[in-house]
């Protein structure tokens, strides 16, 4: 009787102290969340719920790295099963008659085994495979956690296997080994053979030891969690439920107060989900593994940004003097290295949003006047001339001059399609030829289209991503002046960056006109029979632009378009949502390349070169044309691969003469 009482008291004490400590450690975090900015993450909850279930039980993202996903599934499912064991083990102490039914006992034993296998694989992964993505993570924490879980599993087997022998003494009930609990059954028989089973002291000790290793360790685990990456056990599921749904490509939500800035200076300037993100991070490094800046050898790792912020917050909560977040906790070099390609967010199994935090921290740097001097010129150019080239506004439509048929001025007459051209396609002499080709394709298809001439300014996508919200707003207002006045049915653009801004960022000004990327629009035209391409019969690979693919989920249209042109598409290993950034986004195209070991665009071209008999690298973004043409040169692969724009291919397929000076022909 005394043994049971001690166990009961001990269990209650352990429970109280562990939960008490857990709450004590968690409360400050929740207080910070309360003080942070608001964000609505509870809209459309049924959809969120089903999405969450798919991610949690389907392990969709985790399984992208096979071994890692499988071993996580073993351990994760073990935790679900563990709940059964906790209930039964604790229940037994309080009511000895509680015994697991046969199938449940089988499940518990089987899963404990799977968890142990998972742990073995995890150790193998950490110690032998040593993926680079773990660089910078707390490896010790990882091993401690794995050891704790292993101990719990051993504890389960131990107390189960000694229970029938200890029960008569401890609980004054009789119990037998349950063959369904096959591992503990086998162990029980081992104890009998070893003569340990019928020694009261040994049986009691074995049971209590097993119980403490199991339940005691569970409580110890709970107390350990708040200072460990394994807090994700509690936070990952809610974090996935609370994932961002408002247009994914929208970086900054509408400001809630008039003077609100996007700059993140303190933790109060983040929203509460941002704070949650910091403690949800599992340090798995999947973001780091896909980050183009990290791959280029730059000082950025999205994982470290999160961890550095988390550590800074922990220090603050521990009474430490707050450090500046931008340029302090996270260095300016890290922040300016980001291309805002979004690969990190796409890879994160717990749906952490890295890019808005980086942009917010950049905004703080910018407010202090700290910005790369090259990009400062670009910001000034946008402000004064509305373009990144520092060219006069009046020269924006200069590329149209040599066209046979003049393009309509959408400011003066109604058009069906309003073409938003963008800076690069308007001003870059190398790309103007391409713009003229697009105009000819539209004419061929009989589209009634127009442009805004000098009335168009840069859309502001990059200004916003450089942290210059005010400039973005100024540019947006300039464009909206005409976008709202002009008469048209839909917007058309070749530029994914403009596409993203007009589609996702201008919503905060109440602008919601339909917009099509040229790959979508051209596909429509072919399907409507307005363009009839003849097969080109070439083998190509296609590069998904970040702002078309990842941020706007347009993956199929370009591929279908290629198919309609009789083009055989060979995918690069990294394609679709896992596409690898060209390195230009987020203002990077204008910044100094300091400490870059391999440019992302060069890395990408080398990836394309591994494909068998692929001679064309198809792009669907003016910046890509610029970046990859340079990369083909710098990797010296002019003889092996040509960068072509999808519009050039279409022009050829519909029999337009593609000028010598067009990029493809070089």
């Amino acid at each position: 009787m005394i043994g049971q009482d001690i166990l009961m008291v001990l269990t209650i004490l352990m429970f109280l102290s562990a939960t008490g400590y857990f709450v004590y450690r968690m409360l400050p975090i929740f207080r910070v969340m309360q003080q942070a900015r608001s964000t609505n993450r509870l809209d459309n909850w049924p959809k969120r719920l089903s999405f969450m279930l798919g991610q949690v039980f389907g392990h969709r993202r985790l399984l992208r790295i096979r071994l890692s996903g499988i071993l996580h599934f073993f351990i994760f499912s073990g935790f679900v099963i563990l709940l059964i064991d906790i209930v039964s083990a604790i229940g037994q102490v309080f009511d000895p008659h509680l015994v697991l039914d046969a199938p449940l006992a089988f499940v518990v034993d089987l899963w404990a085994l799977l968890v142990l296998v998972g742990i073995a694989l995890a150790v193998y992964q950490r110690a032998v495979l040593k993926p680079e993505r773990y660089h910078g993570s707390d490896e010790r924490d990882g091993y401690i956690i794995l050891a704790m879980i292993a101990v719990i599993m051993i504890g389960i087997y131990l107390h189960e296997s000694f229970y029938p022998f200890a029960a008569p003494y401890l609980f004054h009930v009789h119990a037998a080994l349950n063959p369904w609990g096959f591992v503990s059954y086998a162990m029980g028989h081992l104890w009998i053979q070893m003569g340990l089973a019928h020694n009261a002291a040994v049986a009691e000790t074995g049971y209590i030891l097993g119980y403490l290793l199991d339940i005691g360790m569970v409580f110890a685990f709970m107390a350990y969690l708040p200072t460990s990456k394994h807090l994700h056990i509690f936070l990952a599921v809610p974090s996935i439920f609370l994932h961002k749904t408002r247009p994914y490509g929208e970086l900054v939500p509408p400001m809630q107060k008039e003077d609100e800035s996007m700059a993140i200076r303190t933790f109060r300037d983040m929203n509460w989900k941002d704070i949650l993100d910091l403690f949800t991070c599992t340090e798995c490094g999947r973001c780091q593994a896909v980050c183009p800046a990290h791959a280029a050898g730059q000082p950025l790792s999205p994982k470290m940004v999160i961890l550095e912020l988390r550590d800074a917050l922990r220090k603050e909560l521990g009474g430490g003097e707050p450090v500046p977040l931008a340029g302090g906790a996270v260095s300016a070099e890290e922040l300016w290295s980001c291309t805002t390609c979004g690969a990190c967010q796409e890879a994160c199994p717990v749906f952490i949003e890295h890019v808005p935090k980086i942009a917010g921290l950049r905004a703080a740097l910018l407010e202090d006047g700290e910005v790369d001097k090259n990009s400062q010129k670009v910001l000034v150019g946008w402000d004064r001339q509305g373009n990144s080239f520092g060219q006069p506004q009046r020269k924006r439509p200069a590329w149209t001059k040599v066209l046979d048929v003049p393009i309509k001025d959408a400011r003066k007459e109604p058009v069906d399609w309003l073409w938003f051209v963008g800076d690069f396609a308007s001003y870059d002499p190398r790309l103007q030829e391409l713009s003229r080709l697009v105009a000819q394709i539209l004419e061929r298809a009989g589209i009634d289209f127009g442009i805004l001439y000098e009335g168009e300014s840069n859309a502001g996508n990059e200004a916003l991503r450089m942290g210059e919200f005010g400039l973005f707003e100024t540019l947006a207002q300039k464009n909206l002046k005409w976008l709202e006045k002009a008469e048209y049915n839909q917007i058309f653009t070749t530029d994914p960056h403009s596409f993203n801004a007009l589609r996702n960022e201008y919503r905060k000004f109440g602008f919601e006109k339909p917009i099509r990327h040229y790959t979508q629009a051209f596909l429509d035209l072919i399907e409507q029979g307005r363009l009839s391409p003849s097969p080109l019969g070439i083998r190509v690979t296609y590069h998904d632009p970040c702002y078309l693919g990842r941020w706007n989920r347009v993956f199929d249209a370009p591929r279908q378009l290629l198919e309609k042109m009789g083009v055989e598409l060979v995918e690069m290993p990294r394609h679709g949502a896992n596409s690898f950034c060209c390195g230009a986004g987020g203002g990077r195209i204008w910044m100094e390349e300091v400490g870059i070991k391999e440019r992302p665009a060069d890395n990408r071209i080398r990836e394309a070169l591994t494909l068998d008999a692929v001679n064309y690298f198809v792009v669907a973004c003016p910046k890509d044309m610029s970046m990859f043409s340079a990369a083909v040169q710098s990797t010296g692969s002019e003889d092996r691969i040509k960068v072509v724009d999808v519009a050039e291919l279409l022009a050829q397929a519909v029999g337009l003469s593609v000028p010598e000076s067009a990029v493809a022909m070089k």
Binding site: A363, L366, V371, R384, G470, L471, S661
Partner: protein
């Protein structure tokens, strides 16, 4: 140390200069204006002095209709005060008159140091700091690239042809024409400028229009393309080939 930075805007040279070729007049009202880049350099140097050894920086403009943005930007970058000298002035205001207006204001203020851009592109006598100093009878130095506060005065660097530099010790009060600051001018984000515009005040000071020596400009004209280059047309490859030909003709190639 109290520093005044004299600032102005000039026509944006990225755009064409609005010139009525018949009358030979520059159409000042038809151009877009940007802050004079040398003045930006002067402000930056003033802010660097402030950061290095403490100073109170006041940005001063003559209101020709577009001063507010310049002044709020200066405040956003870290200037302590902004002063706008108001009167019936428009963008065609000559620098000589501007200098006189500045000087009339500065005379009554206890500034130790007056910085401004070494020159401005928009006038026949764009060297505002020298004019201001001459009017006030203060010592001055132009084409300066570095100023440090030292003891009761400053140590500055003046640049000469050939990259020669003199380090000069000068006592205050002093007027300095800045050619370039030690560091490229900092950025003022639009949000910051807007925020400053809401929270900080520009001090307005009435300034009378003084009489100054004037020049009668007969006409402005575009430089005659007497020596305009012979343009080589074509795409990059054609141009490159033609250039090589020219160099060969003139025996400028090694082989």
């Amino acid at each position: 140390m109290r520093i005044a930075v004299l600032m102005k805007s000039v026509p944006d040279l990225v755009e064409d200069i609005a010139l009525d070729e018949d009358s030979g007049q520059v159409l000042f009202d038809e151009m877009t204006y940007v802050p004079s880049e040398w003045d930006d350099q002067a402000l930056e140097e003033a802010l660097l002095i402030k950061e290095e050894s403490g100073a109170e920086v006041t940005a001063v403009t003559v209101d020709t209709g577009d001063s507010d943005n310049i002044l709020f930007t200066a405040l956003a970058k870290g200037a302590d005060h902004a002063v706008k000298l108001v009167g019936d002035y428009d963008p065609s205001l000559t620098n000589r008159r501007r200098a006189q207006i500045f000087a009339d204001y500065l005379r009554d203020q206890a500034f130790d140091l007056v910085l401004s851009g070494v020159q401005a592109i928009d006038d026949i006598d764009g060297q505002v700091p020298g004019l201001v100093a001459g009017i006030m009878g203060w010592p001055h130095a132009s084409v300066v690239t570095e100023v440090h506060s030292k003891d009761k005065g400053v140590v500055l660097r003046q640049e000469y042809a050939g990259g020669l530099v003199a380090e000069i010790e000068a006592s205050t009060p002093l007027v300095i024409g800045i050619q370039a600051a030690r560091k490229p001018p900092r950025y003022a984000s639009i949000a910051k400028v807007r925020q400053v515009a809401k929270t900080q005040q520009i001090e307005e000071v009435e300034a009378e229009s003084p009489d100054v020596p004037t020049l009668a400009v007969r006409r402005f004209y575009k430089p005659v393309a007497s020596g305009h280059a012979e343009m080589i047309d074509g795409d990059v490859e054609e141009v490159a080939s033609r250039i090589i030909e020219i160099l060969q003709e003139r025996n400028l190639l090694r082989r």
